[in-house]
């Protein structure tokens, strides 16, 4: 009999990958502070706790502010950079794009430390703003990568046609280019938002002590009695992520149906 090696490998791989995520909601509803089997009983106490935790609420608020602003800024900068690199040839464009993409491969630790040194030496006080600066630096390369492929798949003659039909550069961009790269922009926003939301190192280095989700969770995990709260919080985050991804996929498919372009797979 033939042993289905690849099939077994695939199943084992998926179990290894997703078991922790499945464990999360299980313990979030478990009536015990110890994260261990056997399960004790059903409770929604942990969810009640996180809903009434003022520090968590502040952390969530701060995280939403930081991630929203960071993602909008990095998607905007990414749009400019991607447009420039795909449409115009200028001296030094290669090295320049390399520099923009560098933070993607540079260890976050290095980026964070370097930023911290620079900010402190020019006398800028640490706050949410400095965190946002760091996050934009980290997120922009991802936006550029996503948007470059969006701009590359854009037929150049569409722009020329709009110009030929009487539109100037700005209205051509608004009427033709923007709607067609919109799926890419939405992808870039979502990815940047996610990266910013769970970015820990830069947040920890450049923060002023104001709690954000990532630093808050890290702080809580040191106390065993708060661990079930984190499980509940994790469950909520997983749920929100699934909803967000579903929405993103929905918009992506609608975009494809609307423009009739080829489906090239996932929304990245």
């Amino acid at each position: 009999m033939k042993i289905p090696t690849l099939r077994i490998y695939t199943i084992a791989y998926l179990i290894f990958l997703y078991t922790p995520i499945v464990i999360l909601p299980i313990f979030a509803f478990n009536n015990s502070t110890a994260v261990a089997f056997p399960l004790q009983g059903f409770t929604t106490e942990w969810f009640y706790n996180i809903a009434h935790d003022d520090v968590l609420f502040r952390a969530l608020q701060n995280s939403l502010i930081v991630s929203s602003i960071s993602s909008v800024l990095s998607a905007t900068l990414g749009t400019f950079a991607a447009r420039a690199s795909t449409r115009y040839k200028f001296p030094g464009s290669g090295p320049l794009m390399g520099l923009i993409m560098l933070p993607m491969v540079l260890p976050d630790m290095i980026t964070a430390m370097a930023l911290l040194v620079v900010l402190l030496s020019i006398g800028i006080k640490l706050s949410l703003v400095t965190i946002i600066l760091g996050h934009v630096l980290i997120c922009t390369p991802f936006s550029v990568a996503i948007l470059t492929s969006a701009f590359q798949s854009l037929d150049k003659s569409l722009e020329e046609a709009a110009c030929d039909l009487g539109e100037g550069p700005v209205s051509t961009f608004m009427l033709v280019i923007l709607p067609l790269v919109m799926p890419g922009i939405i992808s870039a926003l979502l990815i940047s938002f996610t990266i910013s939301l769970d970015e820990f190192i830069v947040t920890n280095f450049l923060g002023s002590g104001e709690p954000l989700l990532s630093t808050f969770i890290y702080g809580q995990l040191r106390f065993p009695k708060y661990v079930p709260n984190i499980m509940a919080l994790g469950t909520v985050l997983v749920g929100v992520s699934i909803i967000l991804l579903t929405l993103a996929e929905f918009f992506r498919r609608r975009g494809i149906a609307k423009t009739g372009s080829k489906d090239t797979g996932g929304f990245l």
């Binding site: 037929d155 003659s157 020329e160 039909l165 539109e167 100037g168 033709v176 609307k258 009739g260």
Partner: protein, 366 residues
């Protein structure tokens, strides 16, 4: 007939460089108002570049381009009285058919209803009445082409530029569209400038054709003149097929050239109608089209002159048979096309045959 028409476009010594690459090498030409004009040449000959200098997508390095008497240097495409049908059609995929066609009317001061009527009329003109609400991306290639035409013509440009508009269509559809485009051009009376690498397409559609090689216009003439009396062997070979034989000019006087050609012998040619081109260092050449010679199957057929030949290759096309025959005393086989009329046999390779030809159908390249 076209000589009385006013000039629409004029090129005066137009040069274009891309870095070191000399894409346009001194273009001089005039295109008349209401003319169906074609730029014909192999890929890389500069025909598309020349078209794009009219549209304003390419600047020129030196020279002047005049549209309707006005120097268009520095004028952006959106301010030129030209519209273009792109090779890829460039239909906006996120818009409907009517939004595509009405795209250029955004700054038009007319009322919404008037614009909607103009869109409907434009769609009807290209045979797409009732397609307005459809999504542009759901159209077939031929329909996209029509939308692109309607979108350009609705703006009533002085010149419509067509960049290989039929190359993406299959053969049947292409032939239909050729006829439709000619009709449409006659109907609207706008100057059409077509870029194509397809010599048949250019011959079928154009009033005049500029044949381009390597950034220069090799010959600008009517389709018939181009076919009958090409100025160079390159033009002769690009437009249809021509057989060439080495020849010698024995004498030239009183408009008559006395020549001797390999395999054909001595003959007299009319200098004005049959002698062409600049003096070439390799010596003169005489050329004839495959359909101007015939293979003589029976002794009764009469012809001006005849030579003996051997059949080297037979290519059967259904309605036609192409023979490659080697005339006695020549090195290269000549192509002769024969219509397969009823009862006429197809010869075998190796058959000895008589080839009938007429001195009047020959062209001499000096």
């Amino acid at each position: 007939m076209s000589s009385e028409k006013p000039t629409m476009i004029e090129f005066k010594d137009v040069h274009k460089y891309y870095g070191d690459y000399h894409a346009l090498r001194g273009i001089n030409a005039t295109i008349k108002a209401g003319e169906f004009f074609s730029l014909l040449g192999p890929s890389g000959c500069g025909k598309t570049t020349l078209l794009r200098t009219i549209a304003g997508f390419e600047g020129i390095s030196s020279g002047v381009v005049l549209i309707d008497g006005k120097d268009v240097a520095g004028i952006r495409p959106n301010h030129r009285p030209t519209n273009m049908v792109f090779q890829s059609y460039a239909i906006f995929p996120h818009l409907t058919v009517e939004q595509n066609v009405g795209f250029g009317l955004r700054k038009d001061p007319r009322s919404k209803e008037d614009k909607a009527r103009a869109v409907d009329e434009a769609l009807a003109m290209v045979g797409l009445a009732g397609y307005g609400k459809r999504a542009a991306h759901a159209l077939s290639g031929g329909q996209r082409q029509r939308v692109a035409l309607a979108r350009a013509l609705i703006l009533k440009p002085k010149v419509l530029l067509l960049d290989e508009p039929l190359s993406a269509l299959d053969k049947k559809l292409r032939e239909n569209m050729q006829v439709e485009l000619i009709k449409l051009q006659r109907q609207v009376g706008i100057t059409f400038i077509l870029v194509t690498h397809d010599q048949e397409e250019a011959l079928v559609m154009s009033d005049r054709i500029a044949v381009m090689f390597e950034g220069q216009i090799a010959q600008l003439d009517s389709p018939e003149a181009l076919y009958r009396l090409p100025k160079t062997r390159a033009v002769a070979n690009f437009i249809g097929t021509m057989n060439f034989l080495p020849a010698k000019i024995l004498s030239e006087a009183g408009g008559i050239a006395e020549i001797e050609a390999a395999g054909l012998g001595r003959m007299a040619l009319n200098v004005e109608k049959q002698v062409t081109g600049a003096v070439s260092p390799g010596g003169a050449t005489v050329g004839f089209r495959p359909e101007t010679a015939t293979l003589l199957f029976d002794t009764q057929e009469a012809t001006d002159r005849e030579s003996m030949a051997t059949v080297e290759e037979v290519v059967y096309y259904g309605d036609m048979t192409y023979y490659d025959v080697k005339l006695d005393g020549t090195a290269e086989p000549m192509r002769v096309s024969m219509r397969n009329v009823f009862g006429r046999p197809v010869l075998d390779i190796g058959t000895r045959t008589r080839v009938g030809w007429s001195p009047g159908a020959l062209v001499l390249f000096r």
